[in-house]
C-alpha cells in the first residue's frame, strides 16, 4: 500500500505542475502579488510531494520490500544499511527520482528569493523550472515507474552491483546530480531573461551564486567518481576519458566558463548574449550527459543502469530543452543593449573572455571526441574508439593557455580606468617559474611534457601567492589579527584565489601521476620480499575471510622503508555470491608525497600470486585540488555582498 501512495504523489505532482505551467503561461505578462504567490506555493507543494515520494522509495529499500521491481532487482536483505539506502539511486528509476527531487528542491530554493528577484523574472524562472519538472515527471511515469510491483514475490533480491557498494559511490550520484540540476537554475534565469526581456547587473548578481554552488557540487561529484575509479577498479588510474566521465566533464567546463562570463556581465555589463548562450548550453550539456549515461548508446566501461529504449525519451527532452531556448535566443537577443564603453585589450574582462573562448573550445574537443565514434558508426558503419591519446593532443594544448592566463587575470583590473601595474608581478612570476622549470629539468630532462605541465603548475601557484602578497604589501592595513586578515582577504576575491590554487594543486598531482609513476607486475609467493628502491614489501600471508555479503581472499604485506616498518597493506579479492561477481580491492597507502598501490591478482599456494605494484607520486593532490576548487566556490558565495556587509557591521 505504501508504495502506491508514493506513486499517487508522483501523479499528483505531475498534475499540479502541469496546472502550474498553464497558470504561468496565461499570466506570463502579469507580475502582481497574487500570481507570484500562487506560483511560489505550488512550487512548495511540488517539492513536498516529491520529497515524500522519494522518502517512500528509500523506505521501501530500507525495509527490503521485494514486491517492488527495482528493490528486488537492486537490493538484498544482507546488504549493509547504507548501501540499501544508496541502492535507491544506484539504478535507472531511482536515479531519476533523485534527479527530480533535487530539481524541485532547487526550484523551491529559488522561489524563496521573492524579495531579491523581480516578480516578472521570478515567475518565468519558476515556470521554466516547472516545465523541466513536467518533462522528467512524464519520463518517470510513462517509462520508468519506480513503484512498479512484481506479481510473484521473490524470497530475496538480486543485490546491488558490488562495485557500487562503496561509500564514495554512494555520495557520487547525489553530488553530481546536484551539479547537473543546479545548472537548470542559471538556464531558467537565461530563458527568463529572454522571455521578459529584462536583464541587468542585478540579474547577473542574483544568478552567480546558483552557478557557483552547482559548479562546486559538480567539481566534488566528478572528483569523487574519479577517486572511486582509482581505488575501486584497481587499474591504478584516475581518469580514462571514458564517455561517461566526459559526460560530466563537459558541463563542468561550460559552467566554469559561465562562472567567469557572468562575473564580467555583473561588473561591466557586457557579453550579455554570450552569458545567456552559455547558461543554456550548460544545462543542455547536463541533459546530454544524462542521455549518454542512461542510454547506453556509447560504449563505456562505466555506464550503469543503462537502457537504450529510454534514451529516445531523454533525447526528446534534450531537444525540447535545448531547441526551444535556442530559437528564443536567436529571435530575442538583438533586444539586449550592452554597455557601450571602451573595451581594453589589457584588462581583466579581456583575460576572462579569452579564457572563456578556450574553455568552450576545450569543451568542444571533448564533445567531438565523445560523439565522433557515434557519428562515424551511423555514417559508414565503421566502429572506432577514441582514447586518451586524442585528448592529450587536443584538450591539453588548448587548456595550457587557460592556465597561463589564469595566473595573470587576477593581477589585472576591470575596464580601463586604472592603469595596470602588472610588470613587477609578471617579472617575479616568470623568474620563479623559470627556476622551477629548471629544477624539473634537473630531475628528469627526458620528458618535455612533464616540464611544461609542472611549470604551469608552478606558474599558477606562484601567481596566486604573488597576487596575495603584493596586495597585502600594497595596503597600509595592519594584518595582526586573524579577523583582520580574513576580512581583508574576503574583500579581495579570496574564493577566486582558493579555487585557482586548487587548479594549481590539481596540476601538481597530474604532473606527478602522469610523468613520474612506476608500475609493474610480479609473481610472488608467501614469504617472498619485493624490493623497490629503499622500500621493501614482505609477503606475509593469504587468508580467506568472510564479509557481510561476500567472501574475501586477503593478502597481507608489510611495507618497510629503510628497514623500518611503515605499514601493513592488505589487498583483497572479494567474491559476492549473490551477485555472482568478483571485485578487486586494492590496498592503498596514501600520504602527502604519493600512494603505494597494491593489487592482488590470480594465484594459489603452489604457483604464487600475481601482484601489481604502483607508485603514484602526488596523486592525492589531484583530489585535494578539486577540494580546494569547490571550497573556493563556496567561499566566494559566502563572500557575496550581503555577508560582506554583515561582517562590516560586526566590527
Amino acid at each position: 500500500m505504501i508504495p502506491e501512495i508514493g506513486h499517487i504523489l508522483l501523479i499528483l505532482t505531475f498534475v499540479t505542475s502541469i496546472l502550474q505551467v498553464l497558470f504561468w503561461s496565461f499570466n506570463i505578462k502579469k507580475s502582481d502579488d497574487v500570481t507570484i504567490n500562487v506560483l511560489i506555493k505550488s512550487t512548495f507543494i511540488n517539492f513536498v510531494f516529491i520529497l515524500f515520494s522519494f522518502g517512500i522509495l528509500v523506505y521501501s529499500f530500507i525495509i527490503s520490500d521485494f514486491s517492488l521491481v527495482i528493490v528486488s532487482d537492486n537490493s538484498h536483505t544482507l546488504k549493509p544499511l547504507i548501501y540499501k539506502i544508496s541502492g535507491t539511486w544506484g539504478n535507472h528509476e531511482g536515479s531519476l527520482m533523485l534527479w527530480i527531487l533535487i530539481l524541485s528542491f532547487f526550484t523551491f530554493l529559488v522561489s524563496r528569493k521573492k524579495h531579491q528577484i523581480s516578480y516578472k523574472l521570478l515567475s518565468s524562472i519558476i515556470g521554466i523550472q516547472t516545465i523541466i519538472l513536467c518533462l522528467f515527471l512524464s519520463f518517470i511515469l510513462f517509462t520508468s515507474n519506480p513503484f512498479e510491483r512484481l506479481n510473484v514475490l521473490p524470497i530475496d533480491g538480486n543485490g546491488l552491483n558490488p562495485l557500487l557498494q562503496d561509500p564514495g559511490l554512494a555520495l557520487h550520484p547525489p553530488l553530481l546530480y546536484f551539479g547537473y540540476v543546479g545548472l537548470s537554475v542559471s538556464f531558467s534565469f537565461a530563458v527568463g531573461a529572454l522571455i521578459t526581456g529584462e536583464i541587468n547587473k542585478e540579474w547577473a548578481r542574483q544568478m552567480r551564486p546558483w552557478i557557483t554552488i552547482a559548479w562546486s557540487a559538480l567539481t566534488i561529484g566528478i572528483a569523487l567518481g574519479s577517486w572511486w575509479a582509482y581505488y575501486e577498479l584497481g587499474w591504478g588510474g584516475w581518469w580514462f576519458w571514458d564517455p561517461v566521465e566526459n559526460a560530466s566533464f563537459m558541463p563542468w567546463l561550460i559552467a566554469t566558463a559561465l562562472l567567469h562570463s557572468v562575473r564580467i556581465l555583473e561588473v561591466r555589463f557586457i557579453l550579455i548574449n554570450w552569458t545567456i548562450l552559455l547558461s543554456i548550453l550548460g544545462f543542455s550539456f547536463s541533459l546530454l550527459g544524462t542521455f549518454i549515461v542512461r542510454s547506453g548508446l556509447l560504449t563505456s566501461v562505466h555506464a550503469f543502469a543503462s537502457d537504450p529504449s529510454r534514451g529516445l525519451f531523454i533525447l526528446i527532452i534534450l531537444a525540447i530543452a535545448t531547441g526551444g531556448p535556442l530559437i528564443l535566443y536567436a529571435t530575442k537577443t538583438s533586444l539586449f543593449k550592452e554597455n557601450k564603453t571602451q573595451f581594453n585589450i589589457i584588462s581583466k574582462e579581456s583575460a576572462l573572455l579569452i579564457n572563456n573562448l578556450f574553455l568552450t573550445t576545450a569543451a568542444a574537443t571533448v564533445l567531438i571526441g565523445t560523439l565522433y565514434p557515434l557519428f562515424l558508426d551511423a555514417f559508414n558503419g565503421n566502429k572506432i574508439s577514441i582514447g586518451p591519446a586524442y585528448y592529450n593532443a587536443t584538450f591539453a594544448p588548448i587548456m595550457a593557455p587557460v592556465i597561463l592566463l589564469m595566473a595573470i587575470a587576477p593581477f589585472l583590473s576591470w575596464g580601463i580606468k586604472k592603469p595596470n601595474k602588472i610588470a613587477k608581478k609578471l617579472i617575479f612570476l616568470s623568474v620563479i617559474t623559470l627556476l622551477g622549470g629548471l629544477g624539473l629539468f634537473m630531475i628528469d630532462e627526458s620528458s618535455l611534457f612533464s616540464i611544461i605541465c609542472g611549470s604551469l603548475a608552478i606558474w599558477l601557484l606562484t601567481g596566486v601567492i604573488v597576487d596575495l602578497t603584493f596586495q597585502i604589501k600594497a595596503t597600509n592595513l595592519r594584518l595582526n589579527s586573524f579577523k583582520a586578515i580574513f576580512l581583508y582577504f574576503s574583500k579581495n576575491n579570496l574564493g577566486v584565489h582558493i579555487a585557482h590554487m586548487g587548479v594549481a594543486v590539481f596540476l601538481v598531482g597530474v604532473t606527478g601521476e602522469q610523468f613520474y609513476k612506476t608500475e609493474f607486475n610480479i609473481k610472488k609467493n608467501v614469504g617472498d620480499i619485493i624490493n623497490i628502491g629503499n622500500k621493501s614489501l614482505i609477503f606475509d600471508k593469504v587468508e580467506t575471510l568472510p564479509g557481510p555479503n561476500y567472501k574475501s581472499e586477503t593478502a597481507t604485506f608489510t611495507l618497510l622503508k629503510d628497514k623500518k616498518i611503515i605499514d601493513v597493506l592488505k589487498p583483497e579479492k572479494r567474491f559476492y555470491p549473490i551477485e555472482k561477481s568478483q571485485t578487486t580491492e586494492a590496498a592503498i597507502l596514501s600520504d602527502f608525497w604519493g600512494d603505494t598501490y597494491l593489487v592482488l591478482g590470480d594465484g594459489n599456494k603452489e604457483t604464487g600470486w600475481s601482484i601489481r605494484v604502483y607508485f603514484n607520486p602526488l596523486i592525492s593532490w589531484i583530489w585535494g585540488g578539486a577540494g580546494f576548487m569547490a571550497l573556493g566556490g563556496l567561499v566566494s558565495i559566502l563572500q557575496s555582498r550581503k555577508s560582506r556587509k554583515k561582517l562590516k557591521n560586526a566590527i
Binding site: 537504450p308 573550445t361 572506432i384 577514441i386 591519446a389
Partner: protein
C-alpha cells in the same frame, strides 16, 4: 582604440583560436582513432597478409576452454562464433574476465596474433559491448536479452 579596429582584432583572434583547435582535432582524430574489428573481419581482411600498422580493438567472447595462464602472461582466443583470434596479454585482467564473457581487446595485430595492451570488460556481468552484440547478431548467435540494440 578605435572600436572597429578592436572588433577586428577580436574576430581575428577568435578565428585563429578556432582554426587552431580544428587543426588539432583533425590531426588528433587522424592519428588516434582506434578501429574496431570482429575476429571475422580480421580473418577476411588481414589473415596471412600484413600486420596492421595501427592499434586496433577486437571485440568478442572469450572462447571456452581457451584461457591459459603462464608466468603472468594470459593466452586466450576471442571469438564471434564464426572465427577466432589468438590473444596474448601480460597485464592485469579485469575482474569480470572469464570464459564466455563479452570483452574488448586493444592491441597490435602481429603474425596473426593480437598482442594486447589492454583488455576491457564492463563492470556489469550482464553487459555485452554493443559492438560485440552487433557482431554476434550478424552471425546469428545472439542469445542475450539485455542491452538489445
Amino acid at each position: 582604440m578605435n572600436p572597429k579596429y578592436r572588433r577586428l582584432i577580436i574576430i581575428i583572434f577568435i578565428t585563429l583560436t578556432l582554426g587552431l583547435a580544428t587543426k588539432l582535432i583533425l590531426m588528433a582524430l587522424e592519428e588516434n582513432i582506434i578501429y574496431f574489428f570482429t575476429p571475422n573481419e580480421i580473418k577476411v581482411k588481414y589473415e596471412n597478409k600484413q600486420d596492421i600498422e595501427k592499434k586496433i580493438r577486437v571485440g568478442g567472447l572469450v572462447l571456452e576452454n581457451s584461457v591459459i595462464k603462464k608466468d603472468g602472461t594470459t593466452k586466450f582466443n576471442i571469438t564471434d562464433r564464426s572465427h577466432q583470434i589468438e590473444v596474448l596479454f601480460d597485464g592485469p585482467l579485469p575482474d569480470l574476465f572469464r570464459e564466455g564473457q563479452g570483452i574488448v581487446v586493444e592491441g597490435m595485430f602481429r603474425n596473426n596474433k593480437l598482442i594486447a595492451s589492454e583488455v576491457l570488460a564492463k563492470h556489469d556481468e550482464n553487459y555485452m559491448p554493443p559492438e560485440v552484440a552487433d557482431a554476434l547478431i550478424k552471425n546469428g548467435v545472439w542469445q542475450g536479452e539485455k542491452n538489445d540494440p
